[in-house]
C-alpha cells in the first residue's frame, strides 16, 4: 500500500509505476481491481474555506466527516448529501471527499439540488502519465475551456487521481420536515412523488419504500416556510392516502441515503438510474428481494439474488451499476455502453492514461 504525502510524491509514484494501480480514497467501496494499492489519505487538509462565497477547497484525501464538521461551524453543508456505503456494503475505512467526487456519490437531495458533479468547481489531479493537471477553479461560474471538472467527477479514478477539489457549499437549512403517505402501492407511490416534485413547494427529498408501502417527501428551510409548505402539501397529497408527519426526519433520510435497510442482508446490491416514472414498470420485472426508490423513482436500489445480471431483466431505458457482489463475479460493475460511446470513453482513457494503469478495467 502506498500513501503519498504530497501531490508531487503522488505524481512521482504514477510516473514511475511499472504496473497497474488500485486507486482508493478511504477504501469504503470495497473495490477490487488488479495492482498495487494507492491511497490518497495522505493528501488531507483544507486549503481554503470562504463561507461568504460558499466556497471550499480541500485536498482529496480529507475525510468527509472532517469537512462536514468544519462546515457545520458556519451553518453550511455539502448540499448533495454524499452517501456513506459502509453499513450497506459491510466495509470499513473512512469516506474521503476525493472518493465522493470520483464516484459522484450523491444522496436524496440530488433530485432537487443536483449531484456532486453539480457542486464541483475545480479539480487538480495526476493523470496516468504522471502529469499534474488542473481544470475549473474556485468560482461559481466558469466556462473557460472544456469542463474537465465534470469529466473527472464520476470517472472512478480511471482518468487521473484527484489531489484537490473545489466545491460549492450551501447554507444548512434552519429546519426540516418529512411527510409520509401511508399504505400506498408502487404506482400510486411514484405518482405521489411526481405530484410533490411538480408542486411549487421545493421538495428536497422524494423516496418510496415498497416494503413499507410508504412514500416520503422532505421539506427544508426556515421554520415558518416549512410549516406553510408542509400544510399545503398535506392537502395536495391527501388524495393518495393518509398523510402523517414523520418524527426524526434527519435520521430517516440518513437511513434512506445510506441504505440501512439493506445492511446485513444477503445478495447483490444494484443501483439503477431510470426515468422516475419508469420505476413502476421496472421494479416488478426485477424479481428483487428488496427495493428502495429515491429521487422520485429515478434511483432504484435493488437487492438481487447473487450472480443475477439485473440488466438482462431491465425493460426500460437507463443504466445499472453493481455496487456489492460476491467476489469474482463475471457480471461487470458498470453498465456496458453503446458502441460509439464506449469508443469515446476508451479514447479518453487512452489519452489520460495511455499505459492503462489507473483502476484498470473498473469502468470498461
Amino acid at each position: 500500500m502506498m500513501t503519498p504525502q504530497s501531490e508531487a510524491e503522488l505524481a512521482d509514484i504514477i510516473a514511475g509505476a511499472n504496473g497497474p494501480l488500485c486507486i482508493e480514497g478511504g477504501g469504503t467501496r470495497g473495490i477490487e481491481v488488479p495492482g498495487e494499492r494507492l491511497r490518497t489519505g495522505g493528501l488531507s487538509g483544507v486549503t481554503l474555506y470562504e463561507p461568504g462565497a460558499l466556497t471550499l477547497v480541500v485536498q482529496a484525501g480529507t475525510p468527509v466527516a472532517e469537512i462536514e464538521a468544519l462546515l457545520a461551524t458556519e451553518n453550511q453543508r455539502l448540499a448533495f448529501e454524499p452517501v456513506d456505503f459502509r453499513s450497506s456494503l459491510g466495509t470499513g475505512g473512512e469516506p474521503t471527499i476525493g472518493g465522493v467526487v470520483a464516484t459522484n456519490a450523491s444522496g436524496p437531495r440530488r433530485i432537487q439540488g443536483g449531484a456532486a458533479r453539480d457542486f464541483l468547481l475545480g479539480v487538480r489531479f495526476v493523470n496516468g502519465r504522471g502529469e499534474v493537471l488542473r481544470n475549473g477553479g474556485r468560482v461559481m461560474k466558469n466556462v473557460t475551456g472544456y469542463d474537465l471538472v465534470k469529466l473527472m467527477a464520476g470517472s472512478h479514478g480511471t482518468l487521473g487521481v484527484l489531489t484537490e477539489v473545489a466545491l460549492k457549499v450551501l447554507p444548512r437549512s434552519e429546519t426540516e420536515a418529512t411527510l409520509a403517505v401511508e399504505e400506498i402501492d408502487l404506482a400510486a407511490g411514484i405518482a405521489c412523488l411526481s405530484a410533490a416534485l411538480g408542486s411549487p413547494f421545493d421538495v428536497t427529498g422524494a423516496a418510496y419504500d415498497p416494503n413499507a408501502q410508504r412514500a416520503y417527501v422532505r421539506l427544508e428551510g426556515f421554520e415558518a416556510s416549512v410549516a406553510y409548505r408542509a400544510k399545503a402539501l398535506r392537502e395536495q397529497l391527501g388524495r393518495y392516502g393518509a398523510v402523517t408527519e414523520v418524527s426524526g426526519s434527519g435520521e430517516l433520510w440518513r437511513g434512506l441515503r445510506d441504505l440501512h435497510d439493506f445492511a446485513g442482508l444477503e445478495g447483490d446490491i444494484w443501483r439503477v438510474s431510470v426515468k422516475p416514472t419508469d420505476a413502476v414498470e421496472l421494479i416488478p420485472t426485477l424479481g428483487a428481494t428488496r427495493c428502495l426508490c429515491d429521487w422520485g423513482g429515478g434511483l432504484v436500489w435493488a437487492l438481487m439474488p447473487e450472480g443475477v445480471d439485473l440488466r438482462q431483466r431491465m425493460t426500460v431505458p437507463g443504466h445499472a451499476t453493481l455496487i456489492r457482489s460476491v467476489a469474482g463475479t463475471s457480471v461487470p460493475r458498470h453498465h456496458p455502453e453503446s458502441a460509439p460511446l464506449a469508443a469515446i470513453s476508451a479514447g479518453l482513457r487512452r489519452q489520460f492514461d495511455p499505459r492503462h494503469i489507473l483502476n484498470t478495467g473498473l469502468m470498461g
Binding site: 499534474v132 493537471l133 488542473r134 461560474k141 466556462v143 473557460t144 465534470k150 411538480g198 428551510g221 426556515f222
Partner: protein, 482 residues
C-alpha cells in the same frame, strides 16, 4: 483577433462540395450565393466578420449527419451556429468553412410533467422552451439575457448562465441528455430522461465545448415548477466595499436569493438617463430577489433588509406590488440598451470570488482612467460573475484595439484574484489568446486531447477556444493529410 488564413485547396472544391450537399439537402437548405452567405458573416461580436464558403440549414438529425459526413470526407471545416447571439465570436466563420445553422430545428419533441423534462430540437430559443411549458406553470431555469433570441444549441455549446443561476444553476446543471452528431456523421445518444448518465460524464464535457466536439441536435432539459411568487428589494449604498460586504453577509446568513444583481455608479447613471427607473444616485445598487409564497417572501425580505440596515444603506426600497417590482428591475434590464445609447461597448464576463469584489472594482476604475475609456459595471454579485461594459467609439481609429487591450487587462485581473476569464459567454475567439493566463500549457493540452478523441481531424469550429499557436500543429497536420 487573428484567424487562420483560408485553405485554398478547400475553396477550390466549393462546387464539388455544393453538388454533394445538394444530394442530401433540399435546395432551400443550402446558401451558396456570396451575397446571401453574408447573413452568416458574424454573430453578436460584430467587430469581426467573414462570410463562410457555404451555409446549410438542415431540418433533422439525419440531415445534420449527412452534411457532417460529407464535410468530414472532404476535409471541410464546419462552424455550428445556434441563433448567432454569441458575444465571444463562437459562431464566427472562416472563409473556407461551412456554417451549420440549427435554427430550423425548433420543434418541441416531448413534454413530460410527471418526470419534469422537456425534449426539444436544439434550434429552439431559450425563452420558447419556457413558453412551451408555461400553461402548466413550469419553466426552464437558465435565463441568459439574450433568451428571447438565443438557441438551446448555443446555450449548451457555451454552458450559458443568467441572472437566476445563483439558485437554479447554469445550463450544465439543467441538461439531462443530448443527441449529438459527431464530425464523421455518427449519431450518439448521451444521457436522457434519467438523472445520471452511465459511464464517464460525457454530457458534462460536451456542455460548454463551444461546438468543437459535435453538433447537438436534440436536448432533454429539466423543467421546474414555478414558485408561487417572487419579489425584489433595491438597496443603495455609498460605497462598493459596503455593498460587497452586504452581499457576503446575506449569503452567510443562510438566505439563498434567486438573484443578487449589482450596479456601480457609471451604470446607474446611464440606466437612469435611459430608462428613468427612479434609481437613487449612489455608488452601488443591489437588487435582491427572493421567491416563494407571500409569507415566505416577506420573511426572507425581512432577513435581508435587517442585514442591509446593518450596513447603513442610503436607501432601501421594497416592492409593494408588481408595478413597483417591475420598476426596480426596469433599470437593470435596460442596462445594455442604455450603454448602447451612449456608445459602442464591449461586454466582458470574467468571474471573481465575491470577496475580491471591492478590490477588483477599485482596480477597474484605475485602469479605466489609465486607458481613457469609461467602464460601467453591472453583474451577478451572488456568484461573482462580473459584466464590465467598456465604452468605445468604433468609428474612431484605434479605439477598438484600445478597448480590447483594456478588456484583456480586466480579465487578467479576474484570474489574478482567483477567478476566471469567462463565467457564461464562453471563450470563442474573444478570450482565446488569454487562455494561457488561466491555464498552464499542460492543462490546455489535456483539453486538446478531448477534442482529439471526438474530432480527430480537427474540423469542428477549429479556430476557437484555444490559442491558435497551441492548436496549429493539429489543424495543419489534418489539412495536409487531405
Amino acid at each position: 483577433m487573428e484567424m487562420p488564413s483560408p485553405n485554398v485547396a478547400i475553396l477550390a472544391r466549393k462546387d464539388e462540395l455544393l453538388r454533394q450537399l445538394q444530394r442530401v439537402l433540399p435546395a432551400d437548405a443550402i446558401i451558396s450565393d456570396v451575397a446571401e452567405t453574408r447573413a452568416y458573416e458574424c454573430d453578436a461580436l460584430t467587430a469581426y466578420k467573414c462570410p463562410p464558403m457555404l451555409a446549410v440549414l438542415p431540418r433533422s438529425t439525419q440531415e445534420v449527419a449527412e452534411v457532417l459526413r460529407i464535410c468530414h470526407a472532404m476535409g471541410v471545416p464546419v462552424v455550428p451556429r445556434g441563433a448567432g447571439t454569441s458575444l465571444a465570436g463562437g459562431a464566427l466563420p472562416t472563409a473556407d468553412c461551412v456554417i451549420l445553422g440549427v435554427a430550423r430545428m425548433n420543434e418541441v419533441l416531448e413534454t413530460d410533467y410527471d418526470n419534469r423534462i422537456i425534449r426539444v430540437q436544439s434550434g429552439r430559443t431559450n425563452l420558447s422552451v419556457s413558453g412551451a411549458v408555461e400553461e402548466e406553470d413550469f419553466f426552464y431555469a437558465p435565463d441568459p439575457s439574450s433568451q428571447l433570441a438565443c438557441a438551446i444549441a448555443g446555450n449548451i455549446a457555451m454552458n450559458s448562465g443568467g441572472a437566476h443561476c445563483l439558485k437554479y444553476g447554469v445550463t450544465t446543471n439543467n441538461l439531462l441528455g443530448v443527441t449529438l452528431v459527431m464530425m464523421d456523421g455518427t449519431v450518439v445518444e448521451i444521457g436522457g430522461a434519467h438523472l445520471d448518465a452511465g459511464g464517464l460524464d460525457l454530457l458534462g464535457v460536451i456542455c460548454g465545448s463551444e461546438g468543437q466536439l459535435g453538433v447537438v441536435t436534440e436536448a432533454t432539459l429539466r423543467i421546474l415548477r414555478k414558485p408561487e411568487g417572487a419579489r425584489p428589494v433595491l438597496i443603495a449604498f455609498d460605497s462598493n466595499e459596503v455593498a460587497g460586504a452586504c452581499v457576503s453577509d446575506i449569503i452567510k446568513a443562510g438566505v439563498l436569493p434567486v438573484a443578487i444583481e449589482f450596479m456601480d455608479r457609471p451604470c446607474i447613471e446611464a440606466c437612469e438617463a435611459f430608462a428613468k427607473a427612479g434609481y437613487p444616485m449612489c455608488e452601488a445598487l443591489l437588487i435582491v430577489e427572493v421567491e416563494g409564497s407571500e409569507a415566505e417572501i416577506t420573511h426572507q425580505l425581512g432577513l435581508i433588509t435587517e442585514i442591509a440596515r446593518r450596513h447603513n444603506p442610503v436607501e432601501l426600497r421594497e416592492a409593494g406590488d408588481a408595478d413597483e417590482a417591475a420598476r426596480i428591475w426596469l433599470g437593470r434590464k435596460s442596462a445594455f440598451g442604455a450603454m448602447g445609447q451612449i456608445n459602442d461597448y464591449m461586454c466582458l464576463d470574467g468571474t471573481i470570488p465575491v470577496s475580491a469584489l471591492p478590490q477588483v472594482l477599485r482596480r477597474i476604475e484605475e485602469m479605466s482612467a489609465e486607458f481613457g475609456l469609461k467602464v460601467a459595471n453591472v453583474f451577478h454579485a451572488g456568484d461573482g460573475n462580473m459584466h464590465p461594459l467598456i465604452l468605445f467609439d468604433a468609428n474612431k481609429p484605434g479605439d477598438l484595439e484600445l478597448c480590447e487591450a483594456l478588456g484583456a487587462e480586466i480579465l487578467k485581473l479576474c484570474v489574478e484574484v482567483g477567478g476566471c476569464l469567462t463565467g457564461e459567454h464562453g471563450v470563442g475567439i474573444e478570450k482565446r489568446d488569454l487562455m494561457l493566463h488561466q491555464y498552464e500549457a499542460a492543462d490546455i493540452e489535456a483539453q486538446l486531447w478531448v477534442k482529439d478523441v471526438f474530432d480527430p481531424k480537427w474540423l469542428l469550429n477549429p479556430a476557437k477556444v484555444f490559442p491558435l499557436s497551441s492548436t496549429e500543429s493539429r489543424r495543419t497536420v489534418c489539412l495536409a493529410a487531405e
